[in-house]
């Protein structure tokens, strides 16, 4: 008899597709990557369940980075954009109720963080974080300013492409994912050692958001579309049955 939820375990993560832990051109990975093999273990309730985040926890401006840190009557400086898309699983099913958290630098490439020392100035009206919960169809959207590229101490002249970080919760803790979104046409993408941990052009393309003129608001904000795919669940028909019964 099954003691688990009515859905099956998660499809194993494709480690041949996901980045490796050790990627020396991204220098920090050298001493922060495990050397032993990962221990494989099928998912159990511990990974097939996940915390629930209700729409009720969201503030009105949580998905508006142009305004959520701005003084009254002010707004963040930079190219105004809408980022929207859907959260799906590997079977193409929408993932409703998924919490997304985003963070980014301002239009000049400066992060609002105590440990950040880049000389580009902070924008007094830009904090750089937002969050949203997907609707029944798995869709989400937020409004922000396009982040600028910024230099980082890796190689002698390394610059991150413009990017927005995403943290995503699905319906099982095994789906937990953090990734980055890049922007169509950015010439820094192929030069970046962090993008370089991705194993194929197809993987890079999956993290590169196209400009979306259909969703652009005339005279206001351009739009980019970014879909996110989380691990899928197996069907359970033949699971947990004693052989022969």
């Amino acid at each position: 008899m099954s003691t688990g939820p009515k859905t099956g375990g998660f499809v194993p993560r494709d480690r041949g597709w996901q980045p490796d832990a050790l990627t020396p051109p991204y220098k920090t990975s050298v001493k922060r990557s495990p050397q032993a093999a990962l221990l494989s273990f099928p998912t159990t309730l511990s990974e097939e369940t996940s915390p629930v985040f209700g729409h009720g926890m969201l503030g009105e401006l949580d998905n508006d980075l142009i305004l959520n840190y701005a003084q009254p009557g002010q707004s963040a400086i930079g190219p105004r954009i809408i980022v929207h898309g859907r959260v799906l699983d590997e079977m193409g099913r929408p993932v409703p109720g998924a919490l997304l958290e985003f963070w980014q630098a301002n239009a000049g490439g400066r992060y609002r963080h105590k440990k950040e020392k880049y000389l580009a100035p902070l924008d007094p009206n830009f904090g750089g974080c937002g969050r949203a919960i997907t609707g029944e169809d798995g869709s989400y959207e937020f409004r922000t300013v396009m982040p600028g590229p910024y230099p980082w101490p890796n190689g002698m002249n390394d610059w991150r492409p413009a990017h927005i970080h995403f943290s995503v919760f699905g319906h099982g803790f095994a789906q937990r994912l953090i990734t980055q979104m890049y922007f169509e046409g950015d010439p820094l993408i192929p030069l970046c050692p962090i993008v370089g941990v991705l194993k194929s052009q197809e993987a890079i393309d999956q993290l590169t958001a196209p400009m979306d003129m259909n969703r652009t608001v005339p005279m206001d904000a351009r739009a980019y579309k970014f879909d996110i795919v989380l691990r899928g669940r197996r069907q359970t028909y033949f699971e947990n049955r004693v052989e022969g019964l």
Partner: protein, 204 residues
């Protein structure tokens, strides 16, 4: 030729980077846009079971503490039930979220979780697992979040029968998954990303 399998591919992971706190624990880095940081309070009222504190530090391959990691934990309540939409076995403790998130101390990197000792949870086939907490570590330099489990050294009997622990080939590495008891309700779980005491990480 055959039909094309039309499954989608999981979005590739990327490092959380050094500024993960801006998005996940903004108050911690001085950005006060939400009421508070998610995951800081796992107990929302009087809870059932034994209240415990787990402290630990994440170390890199040189033995240096990470001061820019983010650790999340996910666990059942004292009765072994999850505060999850897909918990079908009963009603979990209404005052316990089961989910915690810690950026660690900005100077020392030490993380702290004030939680309850989890109850045992069955495998899909009905075998019981020893009490454990699922942990997930992200940081600058970590390309894909690392999953591990926190078991308890004072649950020796249950640990001996646990399907995951008992199946590990290198039994000398099992202690890397055991939280050390430092006092009544006080545990330490250090995480070593690399090297001789490397924590066992899971492909789960």
């Amino acid at each position: 030729m055959v039909q094309i399998l039309d499954y989608l591919r999981e979005s590739p992971s990327q490092t959380a980077g050094p500024y993960v706190h801006i998005g996940c624990t903004p108050n911690f880095t001085g950005i006060e846009v939400y009421g508070g940081d998610l995951g800081t309070a796992m107990k929302t009222g009087p809870v059932q079971g034994q209240e415990i504190v787990i402290k630990g530090t994440v170390f890199d391959g040189t033995g240096t503490p990470l001061r820019d990691a983010m650790i999340e934990i996910w666990q059942p309540d004292a009765a072994g039930l999850f505060a999850s939409a897909n918990e079908t076995r009963g009603t979990p403790d209404p005052n316990f979220t089961g989910w915690g998130r810690s950026p660690g101390d900005m100077e020392t990197g030490e993380f702290t979780f004030e939680t309850v000792k989890p109850g045992a949870v069955p495998m899909p086939d009905g075998r019981m697992q020893a009490p454990h907490i699922t942990a997930w570590i992200v940081a600058r330099g970590i390309n894909i979040g690392l999953h591990t489990r926190i078991y308890f050294e004072d649950e020796a009997e249950a640990n001996a029968k646990d399907p995951l622990l008992s199946g590990i080939e290198h039994q000398n590495r099992v202690p890397t998954l055991l939280a050390r008891k430092e006092g009544e309700g006080q545990y330490r779980f250090d995480i070593h990303l690399q090297g001789p005491n490397e924590t066992i990480f899971l492909d789960i």
